[in-house]
Amino acid sequence: MSTRQATPRFSEREERLLASLTAGGAGTYALIGGLLAVFLWGLVAYATQLRHGLGVTGLRDHVLWGVYIANFVFFIGVSHVGALMSAILRLTGAEWRRPITRMAEAITFASLLMGGLMPLVDMGRPDRLLNLVRYGRLQSPILWDLLSITTYLTGSTLFLYVPMIPDLALLRDRYAAGPAWRRRLYTLLSLGWQDTPAQRHRLELIMRVMAVIIIPIAVSVHTVVSWIFGMTLRAGWNSTIFGPYFVSGALFSGAAAVITAMAAFRWAYRLEDYITEAHFRRMGYLLIALGLAYGYFTFAEYLTPAYKMATAERGYLTAVFSGPFARLFWFTQLTGILLPLLLLTLPRIAWVPRLHRVPLLRPRPALAAAATYAVASVVLSAASPSLTMAGLNLNQWIPPWVLPTLAVWLFLAFLPVFHARPITAAVVASLLVNVGAWLKRYLIVVPTLLNPFLPIQRAPAGWAVYQPTWVEWSITAGALAGFLLIYIGFSKLFPIVPIWETREAPESREAAVQEGIVGVAAV
């Protein structure tokens, strides 16, 4: 068609964005090389597992699922964010979403690929994978997962791809004289986009229809992941609210992953013109809302059985609340939910900077106290065997209230710092959310398996505990590296911020977006 427009000129910020596709210093290569090494190490570990069987893992008949399944739930959870950002925010006309939708959808793509691999890694007979097709039983939640995850992968890939077509056409024209493989790639993928009004209309229509369809699919994905557990009778899994509980946790961890990605790309690709502090503020609001929902579900999930303390659930609940898993559990609750919410809210209070007037509430004394505490506890625990024999138990010299006091002190001392650096606060909160999210997935899988209905008896040595082996940790690290590799690779092939969608908004609206006032929907 002769309607092709002249090669469009790119604004300054667009040029900078496009430069991120090709620019790459020593740091980039070092990062990719390191990730590749970790990923390959994960493959080596998997090859070991294939050769010797699942016996190389710490899994045994009692704890029959472990970190692989925790990884599975974690990655599938993180993948939820694509639907949230691109569908829910698109449908509600939240214009501020435009620069970050693609990075959210790419998270979905990469984490679904890695999450989907995890059950395969966990299988005792991966060579019989096709039995799922040959003899598949639709009555089994595993088939539900297979169907809903593949559907979501297809849907979210389309959701990532379709709105990228106009950008691919821009790139096709830009790289007309560039590297041949890029030209071919963009020409192939842009499907002959000419930016005609008819094409634009069709694209908008497709996007609106898909936005409606993808939401139930996304909800179904994490619901059926939870039903893998919820469909059993085991204490801790036998819960009716597992579906919404997992969905809320998934959205929470996914939104946190997007905040981390926003900060990383903003810093690495110098996208300050696209991703502003207002975006972090809005994503922060979203994270607060999702965190409150998740906290509510967690509370409901644990209070109802804990109030009754029924026979079947008693062992499991005791293990989690005050037994061997208590530290991990309370860490996930305090540091994975409560602290991120505090970090996102309290530093915004106007009088926070005044805390610095109190000399004790400055970072240095607080850090010094924390360091003293750390050194003292290390020294005391190292010295205590001999001292205890001498009749002195020095561990008792540190009263139990010291640690929480120290935590509050540190928090107050750093509040003004976070007040001055809201983006840092959001990133720290997001990283805490994701660490807590992974640990919580682990806590959903393992303690239940260690507290079955019948007592664990006559287990060979090492079978009644779960200690993940190097194989499991290597594959986990490899999966994380694979996720990052796919994600970074994607950002090197395609602009991580949608060009045409951010261009569509006129400058004045953009300014309004940055002010946080937000204009009318462009549609």
């Binding site: 008949d61 966990d122 799922l132 089994s140 006559r458 287990a459």
Partner: protein, 285 residues
């Protein structure tokens, strides 16, 4: 050990390797009665008689060459919470009528037969271990490492009714020895019990038999002795009934020297002979 001899696998058996197994199984003879399928296997465990000798576990392990680490019939040491009464609890697969494992299996590698047995086809199992997670009785085990008795090594084809060869990365469990039942014999564990604590039979026939040759009315036994099923409240509808451990007056056997369920080099066939306890001495009832 006359009972144990019955466990031996006949040399004459000619089982083809599994392919379309379900179609091959000859249906039991049609019922003589007016209606209904002919067989409904049940097991009754008299906890008052069990002295924890674990002959059942050994016979089962020998019969099926159960890989180390697994015990298809595991003898638990239990203690009643309120009375402090200690007793032994042999736990085979419960062959649940509402089987959680059958529900969740993604490839029909485990299924419910009309005669009540929950079968397991390890040549189809993909090793997802969902059935182990679903089973409330811990009746299922997994081959984490290459088992000693693989079809290749033993040179014996796989037959799910015998289940004497094993595959790495698959789930296994007690299947009530359908191959022995077909030959008119008791399951290996039942035949091996020196105390006659295990009864096996057909619910339709309303008769169960133990290793001592005692055949009793199933309904009478279970009603009169207040039979119950394990974790009845879960609604799994097990086909194994327990008679409460009342009036256990005989001493329990001395505790075994450290004999893990699957020590590394433990032979598949039990070697330690155990003294038969004389049940004629009027120890029960």
């Amino acid at each position: 050990m006359a009972a144990a001899a019955a466990v031996g696998v006949p040399a004459s058996r000619t089982h083809r390797p599994r392919e379309g197994f379900a179609a091959e199984v000859p249906r039991p003879a049609p019922p003589a009665g007016p209606a209904g399928p002919s067989r409904r296997w049940v097991m009754v465990v008299d906890l008052a008689k069990c002295d924890g000798c674990r002959e059942c576990t050994r016979a089962c392990t020998a019969m099926h060459r159960v890989p180390p680490g697994q015990e298809w019939i595991r003898v638990y040491e239990m203690r009643d919470e309120s009375t402090g009464l200690a007793y032994w609890l042999p736990r085979p697969c419960m062959q649940c009528d509402n089987a959680p494992c059958v529900k969740v299996c993604p490839v029909s590698a485990t299924w419910k037969r009309e005669d009540g047995i929950v079968m397991q086809d390890t040549s189809r199992c993909i090793g997802c271990r969902y059935c182990i997670a679903a089973c409330p009785y811990q009746a299922r085990g997994f081959n984490w490492v290459e088992p000693a008795a693989t079809p290749e090594r033993i040179g014996e084809p796989y037959d799910p009714e015998w289940n004497r060869v094993h595959f790495r990365g698959t789930t296994e469990k007690c299947i009530f020895c359908p191959a022995l039942i077909k030959e008119g014999k008791l399951p290996a564990c039942v035949a091996a019990c020196p105390m006659g604590a295990l009864y096996f039979g057909d619910r339709e026939e309303d008769a169960v038999t133990n290793s001592q040759g005692e055949t009793v009315r199933f309904s009478k036994l279970v009603v009169e002795q207040a039979g119950y099923r394990l974790l009845e409240e879960l609604g799994t509808e097990p086909r194994v009934y327990y008679l409460p451990p009342r009036q256990r007056v005989y001493p329990a056997p001395p505790p075994e020297e450290a004999e893990p369920a699957g020590g590394a080099g433990r032979a598949a066939v039990p070697t330690v002979p155990r003294k038969r306890i004389d049940t004629a001495g009027g120890v029960r009832r």
